[in-house]
Symmetry: C2
């Protein structure tokens, strides 16, 4: 087993070989969950004006008056009116600018509206005993940030708050990572598509659907799915066409030591340089990784469903996230709910279901797969935990790294 | 404040008023992350045949032979060959059917290939001292499940493993919840779109982008965005058209007590029945919820960005997930990283950043907003925690409910 690559060495080799995906500008409404590739500076001070934050009246508070004659209505989005004198008020709305000359907002709930006077003007009286604080209910210009302040940095993911910040700072077409076109390919003569008749000795293709769903979860929605027979010439032709039209190839099957496992040969014929083949991990040992002449990565995963899913979660998705220029996310650690034995000279992946307790603790309940072809039980799981090689039994309560499906 | 609705009452009223969204069948490749609306039964026993799980040779293991003459090659996806006699072997691939008459697989790593004999046949010899277990490396027919067994139930989300299970069980067109068409509408004369010139007393619309991103995260990707002026007639006309063409309306702004807050009136003119207006929560008190005559829900959120985002996370998204027919997800609890004071008679929402420690514990670091209009700092947060009304200070270490943006 000493000829097998360790996981950290595989990580290093993938990291050193990966391209950085191209960027593009997109309309803001389509940018959610994409990776930002520019810095965003505050367009102007925030708030950009003294902003009223309650519905009511704006006054200059001197403590001399408790009865205010209305001198106008300051709507949101209107240029500021001017308060004519102490003892006058201007009616204001949440979000409107504070009228010039005013310094304080009295909320509507604290006001008693009085009859119109002879000139038809409204007036308001403060509720008995109500004592406003001078300057209250005004969100001062520049209180939140100065113009030019850096609000978002390249590499951040466009979460809902980040989207609001882009909009508020006039970034109508943010620069983001282009979503790479990914070809997902299953190989194997035993594979039959869902919907087609199946013989007893055949199995239905399923890996592309699981891999496609894992990728889509992380925003990799530009996908094509194909199926390849165990035929070297056909593989070379189809893979060549896919390489020409996609940024990434993800294969499953055809990388073991079987007689018909032609994938490494087909890829080498197409000039895809093998970076490694076989990693000290179970399941997933036959994982193959290479780089095409123009730098496009090719991930060739074992065909076994649990192996393919584990390699996708542990290797492919983190690599693609990195290639998007995303800030590296820390590995998520969870608490093991039951003891698990490591493997002496290999990293072990075990499917787990996560449970959250009422105190904020996340526990991983192992669902060891008696055979790596049994994936029905995977429906109950959320991802895999990773046990580094060797050492003693990892007891319940140990912290282990988790990777979601 | 006693006239304000409690959160649990708001939950109950929304739950009682919501429709169940329609279902549809879709091609499997497009079903990822959708909500399943059918049960899925095992198409056949799994594995459907005695499945070889190592590359090597298949033999009938009697312990009598350590040298095997090859009688053929059993590829994956081929009907089973027959082993002619004890002492013969058939070369097998991972995933192929076990040849008839064989019971055991010897992996290739344990074999020494011998020269062809005079008839041109290969032969294999077992490595010295290697002792196979009878029956090894065969995944027996039906070991994983019986035909007809229920594998997935209506209401589950189509995770990557669930997608593999659909494919493997011949569900080429699963029945799933139709993605509802959602209109996201901002109102307010002070709002200017990103990219347009802005005056000092105006602010840029941002709520639709944050709300749209929150919805998209949960799979609600059929969205339109509109902006409404503070003009009752225009609001009635535009909202009427949006109601006719969307399953859900989500408004922000225009629901406070301001002079131009026409939204409740506009909706009532359109026959949208008010279910409630104002909830005992801060931020987000002016939240309005109603149901159109044909049952379509209308969520009218306050226009303030932090209020709108909090109402979206706490009320809108959970309601829409329920209306999809999804199994109810448990509320996520997290540990408070710093003490927070509740509000006496209102539920308090506080933006938080989640941090995961190396032992599996999730801690929420509060980012209280000095004004609910300050959303730059929200970029650092992951969602809100919810503090029920009253009671003592919630100390660091307390468990609180969390809702992601």
């Amino acid at each position: 087993m000493t000829d097998l690559l360790s996981l950290s060495e595989a990580d290093r080799l993938i990291g050193a070989s990966l391209p950085l995906f191209a960027d593009e500008t997109v309309p803001l409404a389509g940018a959610a969950a994409r990776i930002l590739r520019q810095d965003v500076l505050a367009e102007r001070a925030l708030p950009p004006y003294d902003r009223v934050i309650m519905d009511g009246i704006a006054v200059r508070w001197t403590g001399q008056h408790r009865h205010f004659l209305t001198a106008g209505l300051q709507g949101a989005g209107q240029p500021p009116l001017t308060l004519p004198e102490d003892g006058a008020c201007i009616r204001v709305m949440t979000g409107s600018v504070l009228p010039l000359g005013a310094d304080t907002v009295i909320p509507r709930e604290k006001l008693v509206e009085e009859e119109r006077d002879r000139q038809g003007r409204h007036a308001f009286r403060l509720e008995t005993d109500y004592a406003p604080s001078p300057g209250q209910h005004v969100h001062r210009q520049g209180a939140d940030c100065r113009a030019g302040e850096r609000l978002l940095g390249a590499g951040c993911i466009l979460t809902p708050p980040a989207m609001a910040i882009l909009a508020a700072n006039n970034v109508a077409h943010p620069r983001v990572t282009r979503v790479p076109a990914i070809a997902i390919v299953s190989t194997g003569d035993e594979l039959v598509s869902p919907g087609a008749p199946v013989e007893n000795w055949q199995i239905r293709r399923s890996n592309e659907f699981a891999i496609g769903a894992s990728l889509a979860r992380k925003g990799f929605v530009r996908q094509t799915q194909s199926i390849l027979r165990d035929d070297l010439a056909q593989q070379v032709e189809t893979l060549g066409a896919l390489l020409a039209s996609h940024d990434v190839l993800i294969l499953s099957g055809g990388v073991s030591m079987g007689e018909f496992d032609y994938i490494p040969r087909a890829l080498e014929r197409l000039g895809v340089r093998k970076v490694f083949h076989k990693v000290a991990q179970r399941p997933g040992k036959p994982f193959w990784f290479g780089i095409a002449q123009d730098g496009r990565p090719v991930f060739a995963l074992p065909g076994n469903p649990v192996s393919a899913a584990s390699c996708c979660s542990r290797h492919v998705i983190p690599a693609l996230l990195r290639a998007q220029g995303a800030e590296a996310a820390p590995i998520r650690m969870v608490r093991l709910g039951q003891a698990l034995d490591p493997i002496r000279d290999m990293t072990r992946f075990v499917p787990v279901r996560l449970t959250q307790d009422d105190g904020g603790m996340t526990t991983a309940i192992p669902f060891p797969m008696p055979s790596s072809g049994d994936f029905n039980r995977l429906a109950l799981t959320d991802g895999i935990v990773e046990l580094p090689p060797g050492g003693a039994t990892r007891e319940a309560g140990c912290a282990v790294a988790f990777h979601d499906w």
